[in-house]
Symmetry: C2
């Protein structure tokens, strides 16, 4: 039952265009910087912080702080253990354009 609650949290976190894209990009398992370089969604800096926070609080990502640059990484193992197949389903879009 607690799993249902968590699942809803994860789904809510992922039910947003920007956050879904972030998760899809992070699905390669490697950490990505939070810097505006990679994430050009045309939204304000603090908005990205907001989205990163939602993802982190839903248990989807962890943040790695190195000096003044933060990196974000998907918690693949935990997620695959708790919600098997979920991340795959989110990333393996039907006609998902590979890169860019």
């Amino acid at each position: 039952m607690a799993s249902d609650h968590d699942l809803v949290d994860v789904l809510r976190a992922v039910a947003d265009p920007i956050r879904l894209r972030i998760v899809q990009t992070l699905a390669d398992g490697r950490p990505h910087g939070k810097c505006g370089t990679h994430w050009d969604f045309g939204v304000h800096k603090s908005t990205m912080t907001h989205h990163f926070r939602i993802l982190r609080e839903a248990g989807l990502t962890r943040t790695i702080v190195t000096g003044r640059s933060h990196s974000i990484q998907l918690c693949r193992e935990e997620l695959d253990a708790r919600f098997p197949g979920l991340i795959d389903a989110l990333t393996a879009g039907p006609d998902r354009e590979t890169h860019r």
Copy 2:
């Protein structure tokens, strides 16, 4: 790209405790009645209508009208085709109590 848009719609539809439960229950492929008998969430009748509408408009379910009783059914084939593994991931919860 259109798939991403649709995926977000599906996720948003499913990112609600009541609607997630509905989808999980419907996952057996059989049609279930909309009657209050099966769905006892303690919410108002019209609220259920609202949730059913969201699910239908997200392309998750179809409604079968028979006389004065409506039945609802999950669009398994379409969903498995467009978002392979998604429904499985939603229903195969980690410690989801086997049945009942």
